[in-house]
Structure formats: C-alpha cells, structure tokens
C-alpha cells in the first residue's frame, strides 16, 4: 500500500502538472511540487522501514506481475532518489529555467522521480523495463525544452541523442529480458536471482548476459557508449543534470546488479573481462578529457564517466566486495555529483557560462561558502579519505586486485593498476579546477565579485555536503544495509 503511494503520488502530481495543470502559476506549482517530493521522501522512509510491498497480476498472459518492493540493494537508491527529488524541486526556487511553463518543468521532474522509484522497486524484469522507459520522455523534455537557451540546435540534438542512445539500450535490454524470461519461465527477479536464471545452459546465459550488459552499458553509460552523456549534461538545466547524474545513471548500474550479475552469473562471468577493460578505459578516458576540458559542467559530466568506470570495474570483479564497492560508489557518486551540479549550475547562473579559460576572481576571496563547497565536492570526487568518494574507489580497486576465483586474474590486475592511475588523474584534474576557480590562478581584478550562496541554495548545498561527509566518515551505514542482499546474490569468496 505504502509503496503504491510512493510511486503513485509523484506520478499523479507530475502527470497532472504536465497535462491539466500546465497553466498553473509558479507560486502555486512550486510549493505543490516541493510538498509532493517531501511527502514522497516520507513515504520512501516508511516503505523502507516497513519493508512494504505490493504484488498482483498485471499481464497474466506474459506472466508479468505488478510487483514492487524493496531489499538491501534498492533501499539506499530509493532513499537517494527521494532525497534528490526534494533537492531538485526545492532548487526551483534557485533557478527556474525558461523554455516553457514552470508547471511542466516541475511535473517532468516529478515524473522522472516516479519512474526512477518504480525502477528501483520493481521486482519483475519486464516491469523494470517499463519503469525505466517512463523517465525517457520527461527527461527529453527537460533537456530539449528547458536546457541552455542557445544554441537551440545543440539543445535539440543533445536531447534527441540522449533519447535515441537510451532507446537503443532499452530495446537491446528488452530482447535480453524477453530471452531470459522465455528461457527461465518466470519474470520474477527474486526467482530469477534465486536459481531460475543460473539453471540455464551456458550458451543461453551468455546470450542473455550479452544483451543485458550491452543494453545497460548504454544507459550507465560505460565507455565506449558514453558519448550521449556530456552533451546532455552540458545542455540540461541544473535540476535535470542533478537527476541525470544522481538518479538516471544509477538506474543503469542498478540494472547491471539486478539483471546480468544476479540472474545469469555464468554468462556475466564470461563477459566480465570485457566489462572490466571497458570500465578501466572509461576511468582513464574520463580523467584525460577532464584534464583539458574548458566547460566546467562538461568536465563534471566526464568525471561521471570515470566514476561509472569504477562501478563497472567493481562489478566485473565478481566478488562480494566488488558488489559492495559498486553499490557504495553508486550512491556516493549520486550525492557527490548532485552537489557538484547544484554548485556548477549556480556558478553558471552567476557567470553566464562556466568556461574555465575566462579569468575570474578567486572564489575563496569573493564567496568563501561556495568556495568551501567546491573544494569539498572536488575532494570527494578525487576520492579523499573521509569523504564519500573514497570508499567506493578504494574498494573497487581492491576488488579488482583480488577478484573472484572464476575471473581472469591477469586482466583484472591490469585493470586495477589502470584504475589506480585513473584515480591519480582524478586528483590532477580536481586540483586543476580548484586552482583555477577556487584559488584564482588567473584572477581578473576588474571582474565583478561572485555573489556568495544564500537562502535555499545554501541549504541544499549544506545538506548535500553533510551527506558527502557522513558517507565518508561512516560508510558502514550503507555497507551494512547492502551486505545481506549482496551475500544472497552470492558471487565468489
């Protein structure tokens, strides 16, 4: 019951805001969206604490059930999504992009949130895909209509590229799911993970795993399928970027854990070396691009590619530590990237652009609070101990160093070394950004001062910063939540 409300509330309010309530004035729409998001967060907490579930027939002809519920793997992501929902709706007080009615903008945010929550709670493989598709159109609207005003053509192209890439991923994923469901005879993710999938013969497992991994790799995105992400991030409004990084990318990695890793372990093991190499290349590729990228928003986007590389590498290791690392890095990246995108979006609003080549006064002098948050976010991004980013990266490299027995050790060792190099690159580009923006390596004395953060923005940045620190100081909060479910999926020693 509670879980139905959890999904139904943001979906209903969101759909109403984009259809019947399009003309709603901003002073009514904004509180409505924020209250909805806050109520959704409360419902998420209730769902998680009460382990609420719903299960009834949906498409009996296909054996698909309307089955939603939470377990250790989905709990952190449900909470993260609901919290990010509150962040993005509150952020509407900071920045309300032009491009259409505010109600449509806020409604699209809520529909994306509802789709993400449905994806994380779906316990049926086909339902998972349908929920996944729900976020496509509203996200397309957010990027294509509410994105950076010019150039208009680039905006349209970025939005279309996002939809088409993701649609390719979805359709390949759909084929994989259908093949899995047809061969195993059930669409229930719990049964599939509980042995129905593992009982398939090797060839089928490999085919299923290949389709699932390729489909989800586009959505994560994993190198070399990442090319849709930077333009989408660069174009999207701040709230859209936050949702994209903190929620949509998580749906891809969550899918990798839920579908190929949990259901067809043998097939996934065969593909693991390729996945590990793709992850390692992504880490280095993202880091190298970040070293030279001038647009700060695009830079954060490429750093996401690198962080997703760590997640994929950890998943490829096949060990329990690897799964834990992937899930932790997933959530950590959600919080850190939300922080960075809120911050960079705020800077873009103040400066008009976020070109690093333009000389500006040092952030630490003109706006110390913004400067502090920037340093904190960058430090977490480069994996400084004591902050959220650290545990995911360290555990990922460790798990690749000590992979499960059935994985090719040499390949994963090499990937671990490459990933460690990538972590060093991350330090380099984060220090570069800190040097330019925070310390003001190229100051311009005549430029106007950057106004410091205050009001809603300050609260949002403060809460996100707190999350970064808490996850870094007390990682067991999260790791203990996921431990049981990870142990059930199994993996190696």
């Amino acid at each position: 019951m509670v879980v139905s409300l959890l999904l139904g509330l943001p979906a209903a309010v969101g759909l109403w805001l984009v259809s019947g309530g399009r003309a709603m004035p901003v002073r009514a729409a904004r509180p409505l969206a924020a209250v909805t998001a806050a109520a959704t967060l409360v419902l998420a907490i209730l769902t998680v604490t009460g382990a609420d579930e719903v299960d009834r027939a949906w498409l009996p002809e296909l054996g698909v059930r309307w089955s939603f519920g939470v377990d250790g793997i989905s709990v952190p992501l449900v909470l993260l999504t609901a919290a990010v929902g509150v962040v993005v709706t509150l952020h509407a007080w900071v920045e309300l992009p032009a491009g259409g009615s505010p109600a449509t903008f806020l409604g699209s945010l809520l529909v994306v949130e509802a789709g993400a929550l449905a994806t994380f709670t779906a316990r049926d493989a086909v339902l998972f895909l349908v929920a996944f598709e729900l976020v496509l159109v509203p996200m397309w609207v957010l990027v294509g209509r509410y994105g950076a005003p010019h150039p208009a053509r680039a905006r349209t192209e970025a939005a279309l590229r996002f939809v088409l890439y993701t649609a390719v991923g979805s359709t390949v994923l759909l084929l994989g799911i259908l093949l899995l469901v047809a061969s195993a005879g059930t669409a229930d993710l719990r049964e599939l993970a509980g042995g129905a999938g593992a009982a398939l013969d090797g060839g089928t497992q490999l085919a299923v795993a290949l389709l699932l991994v390729v489909g989800l790799a586009v959505k994560v995105p994993v190198f070399p399928f990442h090319t849709w992400l930077p333009p989408a991030h660069t174009t999207a409004p701040t709230a859209g970027s936050v949702l994209l990084a903190a929620v949509l990318l998580k749906m891809g990695t969550y899918g990798l854990v839920r579908l190929p890793v949990a259901t067809v372990p043998e097939g996934t093991a065969t593909l693991a070396p390729a996945l590990a190499v793709a992850g390692a290349v992504g880490i280095v590729w993202g880091g190298l691009v970040c070293l030279v990228e001038r647009d700060l928003k695009r830079l954060v986007a490429y750093s996401s590619v690198a962080h997703m590389g760590f997640v994929v590498l950890a998943l490829a290791s096949g060990s329990e530590t690897g799964l834990q690392a992937a899930l932790f890095a997933n959530v950590a990246h959600g919080v850190v990237s939300a922080l960075l995108f809120v911050l960079v979006g705020g800077l873009k609003q103040r400066w008009g652009d976020v070109d690093l080549a333009v000389p500006r006064p040092a952030l630490r002098e003109t706006s110390p609070r913004l400067g502090f948050v920037l340093v904190l976010g960058l430090a977490a991004s480069l994996g400084l101990p004591g902050l959220a980013g650290f545990w995911g990266e360290v555990l990922a490299i460790y798990s690749a160093w000590a992979p499960a027995a059935d994985r090719p050790r040499v390949v994963l060792l090499a990937c671990a070394v490459v990933a460690a190099l990538g972590a060093a690159l991350a330090a380099a580009y984060c220090l570069r950004v800190a040097g330019i923006v925070w310390a003001g390596d190229r100051p311009d004395r005549d430029a106007p001062r950057t106004p410091d953060t205050h009001g809603v923005e300050q609260v949002l940045l403060g809460v996100l910063s707190l999350g970064v620190v808490v996850l870094g100081v007390a990682p067991m909060l999260l790791l203990s939540t996921t431990a049981d479910a990870v142990a059930r999926i199994g993996g190696g020693p």
């Binding site: 759909l15 259809s19 399009r22 027939a57 949906w58 498409l59 009996p60 002809e61 296909l62 491009g99 259409g100 529909v111 789709g115 086909v126 895909l129 349908v130 598709e133 729900l134 496509l136 159109v137 397309w140 609207v141 294509g144 209509r145 349209t156 279309l160 939809v163 088409l164 649609a167 390719v168 979805s170 359709t171 390949v172 759909l174 084929l175 259908l178 093949l179 469901v181 047809a182």
Partner: protein
C-alpha cells in the same frame, strides 16, 4: 418443408447484420427523401456501426466463449461463422473504426457531396471487415475480403479531384492484383489441404506430407502477399502514401484503421490454422518475416523525412504493418494474440492522430508548432497518440504491445526480425518525437490555420475523446486489452 442446409442463428450474425440493416435503411431513406437525407444517413449509419460493435463485444461474453453459426448438418458439423474473443474484438474494432471514419468524413473539408452514398459505402466495407474476421471457409473469406476493399476504392475516388482519382486508380489496380493473388492462394490452399475451410486439421495433414507441404507454403505465400497489399506491407505498400494524401481525411482514417483491422483479421484466420506446426514453421517464417523486416525498416526510414503529416502517417502505417507481422513470424497462439492487440492499439492511436488533423486542418508539421499551447486538447491527445505509436510511456500501452509482439519472436528465436525491430524502435522514436517536439515548441508561427471550433466539429471531438480514453484505459490496464485479443 425440407430441412435447411445450414442452421442460422441470426443473433450471432448481429455484428454483420447491423451494418447491413444500416445500408438498407440509408438507401430507403435516400430514396424517400432524395438529397435531403445526408445528415440523417450519417447518424443512422453511425448508430448501426455502434450497435454492431456492442453486439460483437457482448455476444461472446454472454455465450461464455466462441459463438458459431451457419453450421452444416451433422456429422461434419463445420460452422462457417465462428467468432471467438479475438475475432469479436477485431469486429468491434472494425465497426468503431468505421464509425470514427464516418465522423471524420462527415465533418471533412470539403464535405462529401452525398452523405448517403459515403455512408452506404462505409457500411458495406465494414460489413465485409466484420464477416472476414469470423469466416472460416474460403468462399466467405474471399467475398467478405473483397466487400471490405472495393467500397474503399469508391470512397477514395468519390472526392472527384485529380489526386483522389489517381489514388483511387492505384488502389483499384492494387485491389485487383491482390484479389488475383488471394484467389490463386485460396485455390492452392484447397489443393494442398483438400478442405475448403481454414481448419487446423486440414493444414496439419498437408504439412505432414512433403509434397503437399510445398503447395501449402506456396498458398500461404500468395495469401500473405495478397493481404500484404491491404496491410500496406512492403513490397506491396506503394499505393499507401498516394491514396492517403489524395483522399479526404475520413477516407484516410478508414484506410488507416478499419481497413487494416479487416486485413489483420483476415490474416489471423489463415494463420490460426498454422500455429504450432510440428518441426517449426520453417519456410513460413520467411514468408511472413521478409515483409515484416522490409516494412519496419523502409517505413520508419522514409517516415523520418516526411513533412506532410498525412504522408508521415502513411509511412508510419507501413512501419506499423511491419510491427503487426513481427509476432506472426513465430506462428504461435501468443503471436496471433500479439498481432491482434498491436493492430487494435495502432488503429486507436492513428484515429486520434487523424482526428487531430481534421480538427486543426494542418497540412505540414510546422502548422502544428506550439499546438499544445494553442489548443491543449488537440495537442495533448496528439502527443499521447504519437507516444503510443512510438512505444514510449506515458503511452504505456504502446510499449506493452511492442513487448508482447517481441516476446514470441524471441521465444521462437527469429533473430533477423528481432534485430530489425530494434532498429525500427529507435528510428521510430525519432520519427514521432520529431512531431512531438513541434507540438511542444514555444514559438507559435503565425499561420492560416483555423482556430479550433468544437461547435462545428462535435463528431471529430467525440472521436478524439473516445480514442484517447481507450488509449488511457488500455495504458492503465493493459491486461484487459490482451485478454480481449486472446
């Protein structure tokens, strides 16, 4: 008194008899009040169609299963009219789509010169479509199929313009060619099975004998080709864009929805005899798979380049015909159900899109710029219809039927069709989102479009609202649609 050859249950025939009664009444009225009966004729025809649809939905429910009549005396006892849940749903679909086409036709620009004639033709075509869905013998099937097609030719040509004459001519030539193929196919079917009905036992016997199997495959090839014309499947699609663009919107709506439903109903009658063949469908999968793949690819790719909304819908019809054929390549009961569900959803979405075109009078995509802001009802319903056609939530039902269509293909392992379907999904999304982007756009180009006036087009509005309502309900409860298509 001699015992009659067949037993007739008139009530079971009601879905077909209702439009026939409509024809008689319209013709009578027109004879009594010549020239002044047009408006009443349309109302009468619509009433007949809706009554037939109600009967089609109600009959199998009341009987608790398939209803049959026109049964031959025992011991053979074959029934020439058998309508199960799927056939009845398709019948209701044909009749409602016919009513919708009639509404658009009646409120089209220019209005049909003679409402009674148009109504009669439409009713006749719907009678054919209803009958073919329940026909089990070759004779009834062929005659009903022609009855469903020939009036459409007259409808296209009736407008009297040069373009419509061209469209009518190409449709006529196409129909004749397809009829030739169908007759030949039916003859070969009879040769192969020795049975003048589409029965599973006859087909199974023919399939088991290698010599007769070749003839059966040839028969199915010809039948699929003949129906491919009516279904607008590549390579039999060439008439479609011309006829769509040349005819008025009401006729286009008839061709796009009612006519497609009839063609699919006819195809399902044939293929239902061929499900679960021992040793797999083999060459039959190729016979259906080749037009499916070609339609998917060519239809979506060409639709991407269209700027006239009617032509875009014409090419999208071709692509969607490919989607209807996709699940049929599996030759399973699940495939038949998927094809029926798919064509029903496609028909509803197309009718909504065409009703919006009737309401706005747009001739290019650009005419719709900012429609969502100018006319939220038309813009919103068109957005939903296009998302259903693209298979993207919130048009959930569009996605569900695509999943249902792909499931039997994946299960049967027809890889080329699955690969083509992936490409078609992606390019198709680009096709429909291109139009949706125009609808959502902020700028409104000053245009000569008429302002929406519901007062002058109440019937179009009804089509819009009912069609959207069906899509919304099916999106919320897709299980109902699938059960009706089983």
């Amino acid at each position: 008194m001699t015992p009659s050859l067949v037993t007739v249950d008139w009530l079971v025939l009601a879905p077909a008899l209702a439009p026939v009664a409509g024809v008689v009444l319209v013709l009578l009225g027109d004879a009594v009040l010549p020239r002044r009966f047009g408006g009443a004729a349309v109302a009468l025809a619509a009433l007949a169609l809706v009554a037939g649809a109600v009967a089609a939905v109600w009959l199998p429910r009341a009987a608790g299963g398939a209803v049959s009549t026109l049964c031959l005396p025992a011991p053979d006892g074959a029934c020439l009219w058998t309508a199960g849940a799927r056939a009845s749903t398709l019948q209701a679909g044909v009749l409602l789509a016919g009513a919708a086409a009639l509404a658009l036709l009646h409120e089209g620009r220019p209005r049909p010169r003679d409402g009674a004639v148009a109504a009669t033709l439409l009713l006749a075509a719907c009678t054919g479509g209803v009958t073919v869905a329940a026909a089990t013998d070759l004779g009834t099937w062929l005659v009903a199929l022609e009855l469903a097609t020939v009036p459409a030719v007259a409808l296209v040509a009736l407008r009297g313009t040069r373009a419509s004459a061209h469209g009518g001519l190409s449709l006529l030539v196409t129909s004749l060619a397809s009829f030739g193929l169908l007759v030949l196919g039916a003859a070969l079917w009879l040769t192969a099975t020795g049975d003048a009905t589409f029965s599973r036992t006859g087909a199974a016997a023919a399939w088991a004998d290698p010599d007769r199997q070749v003839v059966l495959v040839l028969a199915v090839t010809l039948l699929v080709a003949g129906l491919g014309f009516k279904l607008s499947a590549v390579p039999f699609h060439a008439w479609t864009p011309q006829a769509y663009a040349g005819a008025d919107l009401g006729t286009t709506a008839f061709l796009a929805a009612a006519s497609k439903l009839s063609a699919v109903a006819a195809l399902l009658v044939v293929l239902a005899a061929l499900t679960d063949l021992p040793g797999g469908p083999g060459p039959l999968a190729v016979v259906v798979g080749v037009p499916a793949v070609l339609s998917l690819l060519l239809g979506t790719l060409v639709a991407l380049r269209q700027d006239d909304p009617v032509r875009l819908l014409a090419w999208s019809t071709i692509a969607q015909a490919g989607w209807v054929l996709v699940p049929l390549t599996a030759f399973s009961d699940a495939g038949l159900r998927a094809a029926a569900a798919y064509v029903l959803v496609y028909a509803a979405a197309s009718l909504v899109a065409l009703a919006v075109l009737g309401r706005t009078g747009a001739r290019t995509l650009e005419d719709h710029r900012g429609l969502l802001r100018r006319d939220p009802l038309a813009g919103g319903t068109l957005t939903l219809a296009l998302l259903v056609l693209a298979g993207l939530p919130p048009g959930v039902v569009g996605l569900v039927v695509k999943i249902v269509a792909l499931a039997p293909v994946v299960e049967a392992g027809v890889v080329p069709v699955a690969v083509a379907a992936v490409l078609a999904v992606v390019v198709g999304i680009a096709v429909y989102l291109r139009w949706v982007a125009v609808l959502l756009s902020r700028q409104v180009t000053p245009s000569t479009l008429e302002e929406p006036s519901t007062a002058r087009r109440p019937a179009t509005l009804v089509v819009l609202v009912v069609g959207t309502g069906l899509l919304v309900v099916a999106s919320a409860l897709p299980a109902g649609l699938l059960a009706a298509a089983t």
